[in-house]
């Protein structure tokens, strides 16, 4: 079974460190949670590793809804990573 394609988005300094704003990835079936996805993404490049070095600073959204890093990915189609928001 081919791994499903997932859109991963990065914002603010996470985007700057990763070096791109979006990528389509196909993580292995063992990647079940947002946290697993971070572990897996961190291995893709030194930029990814730098962005995810301190995950206390990382927030995530699954299909555009805020999600704790422990959230299951399920059949998510879009996962975003970003620092705590600073709008308003």
């Amino acid at each position: 079974m081919p791994a499903a394609s997932l859109t991963v988005l990065y914002f603010a300094w996470v985007k700057e460190k990763v070096g791109l704003g979006a990528e389509a990835v196909s993580p292995p079936a063992s990647v079940a949670t947002v946290s697993d996805l971070i572990d897996w993404l961190a291995g893709r490049s030194p930029g990814h590793a730098a962005a995810f070095a301190d995950r206390k600073l990382i927030k995530a959204a699954v299909d555009q809804v805020h999600a704790p890093l422990s959230s299951k990915l399920g059949d998510a189609r879009e996962v975003a990573f970003f620092p705590p928001v600073t709008g308003g």
Partner: protein, 156 residues
């Protein structure tokens, strides 16, 4: 009811508020909040670096849906007649309005509470990120712990 706008263009807070009042002539109370871009970093003009420009990044789609979600939550908590949230993205210069929240209600207590709630939750939940440019370079604004505390106040 409710208007949510995320826009690159500058807006005129007074004109928006007047339009909101006109659209809600039977609301006795209109509470509003305007967040302005300051030209310094930190707590006061004296101890902070001069900020010359700001860039606001957002998560397209989720920014709008989160703002709509906040307004929906506010409407469930207080009897509101209408709400308006406008949030800038892109490049801003000092003195410009970053955000406007306006709430119309029969009673001023509801309007004030809902407007404060909208801002507190917006500050911690709406996916916008500020980057400030100073003479020494550009820097992402860090989230304030006080914002988390103020948002937590409304948990239930």
């Amino acid at each position: 009811m409710a208007t949510i706008r995320v826009q690159r263009e500058a807006f005129d807070p007074g004109a928006e508020i007047n339009g909101f009042c006109t659209r809600n002539p039977t609301s006795g109370g209109i509470a509003t909040f305007i967040g302005q871009m300051r030209d310094f970093r930190g707590e006061s003009r004296n101890d902070g670096e001069v900020v010359t420009a700001m860039t606001l990044e957002h998560y397209p789609g989720m920014a709008e849906s989160q703002l709509a979600e906040l307004v929906k939550e506010a409407s469930g908590r207080w009897p509101l007649d209408d709400a308006l949230v406008i949030h800038r993205i892109g490049s801003l210069v000092p003195g410009e309005a970053i955000v406007l929240a306006a709430v119309a209600a029969t009673h001023r207590g509801d309007a004030f509470a809902a407007c404060a709630f909208l801002m507190d939750w917006l500050k911690t939940r709406a996916p916008f990120w500020k980057k400030e440019a100073t003479e020494t370079g550009a820097c992402w604004v860090e989230a304030r712990e006080a914002d988390e505390d103020q948002a937590a106040k409304w948990k239930r």
